[in-house]
Amino acid sequence: MLAAHLLVGALLFALGLVGFVTRRNLIIIFLCTEMMFQGIILNLVAFGRYPLEGPPTFDGQVFSLFLIAVAAAEAALGLALVVLLYRHRGTLDAGAWTTLRDE
């Protein structure tokens, strides 16, 4: 049913959120955002499959495809930035970057 899927999605999202806030490794932070995406994709597809009214629709799947594309873009840019940052400081600690200036 819808609620079960929604809850699983919410759990994934919340776990991703907690991970995003608590973990220090930049790569894991990115992984956690991807995890939130997973939760959302699950929710979107579930909404399409178990609509509140009317027949099942496929808009949720379409949106999740968009999400996947966005996630791919995000991963490409994010990882490129992570590599760049790692080259600068030799660390993946998010706390090592507290200024946006290039020193």
């Binding site: 959120l17 806030v21 608590t22 220090r24 932070i29 998010a94 706390g95 970057w97 200024t99 946006l100």
Partner: protein, 675 residues
């Protein structure tokens, strides 16, 4: 007359402008694909060649058609390519007025296209040799140059072929643009960039009047046109032009207003007196450009346009007087300026303005066919002279000042020979091209008023004098060479070959305007009667057929005499190419006035440029300190706030994330309590 009787289908003639454009686009493609620049001229050469072939065919085709039906004065044919701009209300599209892209083929077009394309072809061929260094390597921007040339030829043909005023304006602006691009071809050189800018801006001033002229034409003619007729089409305009003569606006007839506004454009494009200042500066461009744009084709657009609009101009005696006055003043002034210059190309540039002024005098005297005839002959020998000057310049390593060298006949024999022909033709030496056409204008001037005729005759004498002054300074006297010329100055074969073709044109072009026959008993010249083929031909075009008899023989002898006198005087004073200029000493203050070009540029600078610049500075300061100051004050508030608040920022990404999450959760909790 339909195209059915023509040699080639009308659609093929309508492709005339496109070939050089294709060539130019192809060159652009080659640039993009990085094809070797040495061969980049080929597309344009071929494109112009095809156009020239079509134009020559068209000329004889039209001539054959006119000869076949001399009684039909409605000339040529119109080829409509497609509907371009809708002039009507969108609601009534069915009886809409469409501005078509239509091409007008008649006698005037035929003559113009004949020399435009053929001279262009010669210039392009010449440029293949000119735009290279002494080792035959193309200089930087070689491909770009040819692409521009192609676009230019396309624009010029479009201008000439245009069947309505909007298309004419399009071509008009396109040639202006090409002129800008080509004058500024050496954009790294500040003088060239400034000259390009100057040419563009000065032209804009004229074009503003021209655009107003077209607008007013549209406005005045709109009430008369029938549905389906385009009020800017030539045929429609000339059909209803009579109405303009009677209607009054602001104390003058509408025809006068329209003519004067249109004439503004002609003044700008043909560099006539008040707006002539751009042309001499435009000599900063490469010499082929000077030859092509500033002697043979683009500057003649003004003459062409006024000739084309004869049905309008003819309705307004006042407008014709203005044309005549501007032409006269310009002819005399620029001829005198030319007498006191040393820069070869500048002398030729002033001479061009002077000759164009001759044409305007012809137009003002109501003999547009003579004016167009002069355009036609002038194109050949002036292109020849310019290219000859370019050959000198090429050999002298870029030096063009006549004081720096002399006696070049020893090192540049072929250039010397063709320059002889060109100078003689320009000076109006009997039986050469310039003689015939100039004589017709002088004759028309005499018919108008004796004073006008005398002035024009005197100017013709001046022309002969300064032309040969320049010529002797360069080619006669002892051999002196500037250091830049290198060890062995020589002329390039690639460049000389087109010159010979043009020299042939300079000799023979005049004979299209004369017809043979007449009583041989009278004199030698009497076997030639002016008003030959080209006049018959032009009579059939929209120019109409102005009434004038043919010149008396006395005038032919007189002008020949004046020309010879000018040449002889120049020989006496400059035959030995003296280092010190005898004129400068003899004429004193007058000479210095001429040398300074009557201080026109300085006057403009004081009258327009400086006040405008001061105004601009005022605006700048107002904006920079007044307006921006207010904005700065406004920004000071958030800046201060930001300074106060920036301590809240720790810079740790995850701290922000956490606070965002906590905020989100708080909102959620509050919201769920609320509902």
């Amino acid at each position: 007359m339909t195209a059915a009787t023509s040699i080639l289908p009308a659609g093929l003639y309508a492709t005339l402008p496109l070939w050089p454009l294709f060539g130019a686009l192809l060159v652009g493609l080659w640039i993009a694909l990085r094809v070797k620049p040495e061969r980049a001229h080929w597309p344009v050469v071929l494109g112009v060649l095809v156009s020239a072939a079509l134009a020559v065919t068209l000329f004889f085709d039209l001539q054959r058609q006119y000869a076949a039906a001399p009684e039909t004065h409605a000339g040529g044919f119109v080829y409509s390519v497609y509907n371009w701009i809708s002039l009507g209300q969108p609601a009534s599209l069915e009886h809409n007025q469409w501005l078509a892209v239509n091409f007008y083929f008649d006698g005037l077009t035929g003559v113009m296209l004949l020399f435009v394309t053929v001279v262009s072809l010669m210039v392009v061929l010449y440029a293949v040799g000119y735009m290279r260094d002494h080792h035959g390597h193309p200089e930087r921007g070689y491909e770009r140059f040819f692409a521009f040339l192609g676009v230019f030829v396309f624009s010029m043909i479009t201008l000439v072929l245009a069947g309505n005023f909007v298309l004419l304006y399009l071509g008009w602006e396109l040639v202006g643009l090409c002129s800008y691009l080509l004058i500024g071809f050496y954009y790294g050189k500040p003088a060239a960039a400034a000259a390009a800018k100057k040419a563009f801006i000065v032209n804009r001033i004229g074009d503003f009047g021209f655009a107003l002229g077209i607008f007013s034409l549209y406005w005045f003619l709109r009430p008369y046109v029938q549905p389906g007729e385009n009020p800017l089409d030539y045929a429609v305009v000339f059909k209803y032009a009579q109405h303009l003569a009677t209607a009054q606006i602001g104390g003058m007839s509408q025809a006068t207003l329209v003519s004067l506004l249109l004439f503004c454009g002609a003044i700008g494009k043909s560099a006539q007196f008040p707006l002539h200042v751009w042309l001499p500066d435009a000599m900063e461009g490469p010499t082929p450009v000077s030859a092509l744009i500033h002697a043979a084709t683009m500057v003649t657009a003004g003459v062409y346009m006024v000739a084309r609009c004869t049905p309008i101009f003819g309705l307004s005696p006042l407008a014709l007087d203005v044309v005549l006055a501007v032409g006269m003043v310009g002819a005399v002034l620029t001829a005198t300026m030319a007498m006191a210059q040393y820069d070869l190309k500048r002398i030729l540039a002033y001479s061009t303005i002077s000759q164009l002024a001759f044409m305007f005098v012809g137009l003002g005297c109501g003999v547009p066919d003579s004016a167009v005839f002069h355009v036609f002959t002038h194109a050949w020998f002036k292109a020849l002279l310019f290219l000859g000057a370019g050959s000198v310049m090429h050999a002298m390593g870029g030096i063009i000042d006549a004081r720096k060298f002399s006696g070049l006949r020893h090192v540049l024999p072929q250039t010397y020979a063709v320059m002889w022909v060109g100078c003689l033709a320009l000076a109006g030496f009997p039986l050469l091209a310039g003689f015939w056409s100039k004589d017709e204008i002088v004759h028309a001037a005499f018919e108008r008023h004796a004073a006008v005729g005398i002035i024009m005759l005197a100017t013709a004498g001046l022309t002969a004098y300064y032309t040969f002054r320049m010529f002797f300074l360069c080619f006669h006297g002892p051999l002196r060479l500037p250091a830049e010329a290198g060890e062995h100055p020589h002329e390039s074969t690639t460049m000389i070959r087109p010159l010979w073709v043009l020299a042939g044109g300079a000799v023979l072009a005049g004979y299209l305007g004369v017809s043979f026959g007449g009583p041989a008993s009278e004199s030698f010249l009497a076997i030639f009667r002016p008003h030959g083929l080209i006049h018959d031909f032009l009579h059939h075009s929209t120019i109409g057929h102005p009434e004038h008899g043919h010149g008396g023989l006395w005038l032919l002898y007189l002008s020949a005499g004046v020309a010879l006198a000018g040449i002889a005087l120049a020989w006496l004073r400059y035959g030995a190419a003296p280092v010190a200029d005898p004129d400068a000493r003899a004429l004193g203050g007058l000479w210095r006035l001429w040398h300074a070009k009557y201080f026109v540029d300085e006057v403009y600078d004081a009258l327009f440029v400086r006040p405008l610049r001061a105004l601009g500075r005022l605006f700048f300061n107002t904006d920079n300190y007044g307006v921006d100051g207010v904005i700065w004050l406004v920004t000071a508030v958030p800046r201060g706030l930001g300074f106060a608040l920036h301590y809240l920022q720790r810079g740790a990404l995850q701290a922000y994330a956490l606070s965002m999450v906590i905020g989100l959760v708080a909102i959620l909790v509050l919201w769920s309590w609320w509902t």
